[in-house]
Symmetry: C2
Subunit: 121 residues, 2 copies
Amino acid sequence: MARAATTSDVFNAIAEPRRRQIIELLASGGEQAVGELVRTLRLGQPAVSKHLGVLRSVRLVTVSRRGRRRMYRLNARELKPVFDWVKMYEQFWSHHLTRIKARAERKAREQFDQEREEHET
Amino acid sequence: MARAATTSDVFNAIAEPRRRQIIELLASGGEQAVGELVRTLRLGQPAVSKHLGVLRSVRLVTVSRRGRRRMYRLNARELKPVFDWVKMYEQFWSHHLTRIKARAERKAREQFDQEREEHET
DNA sequence: TTGAAATATTCCCGTATAGGAATACAATTA
DNA sequence: TAATTGTATTCCTATACGGGAATATTTCAA
């Protein structure tokens, strides 16, 4: 048997393109009802509701009722763990000197590998 | 019928905790052979190889042969799209003033909602 | 050449998941 | 109250996916 991680965490939530799109829409357009998202996304209402459910489960969005509509609002703070994690690797591309250094190292390694392969052949 | 996105992109690749762990190991320990990762992760060798395959497919890692071993190396540049995407939302938590402002707005909205609900009742 | 080591690949299983259709439910309106 | 609107939930199906077992493949060593 093999159980899946099922880590329904923020990383998983933003892995879905549709959900990233919803986040973007809420970020740019502010609070929005489900129906608006449905029209914008051109996706079935149940599908949208389910994506919103996932986002809700990781607290990336909050809901408030307004009449018979449910207004969804982005809670982008929950993206901070993702930001913090990926920020650790920023050095790998951000600094010019780092880029040059990395490329030099790569070239050296490739050369090394090539020579080794030639030697091993 | 319903087709899944199967967007085997970088976002999807880092959604898996094991794969994030592999990335972290390669970042801190540098180039490593599969066997090392297997021992460190305490996961079956096929499973590790498959995760590495996913990371390879999105170019998050590169391989080079060294003897009968395959040395995996992190190519963290491919994380830049994730960084860029999530960075757009940094403002939602980073600045003190922004936080205060956001909270004030939230409070005001909640108050508004509450009053509206009371009115509607 | 034969055997062992390192890794990838294939097959299998159980579970997760996206999306549609149908339905349930809540709130508004006639 | 009855009909309608907006949304969530349930059921269903096809597919994806993680992981183990077994196997294939490549490379090194004896």
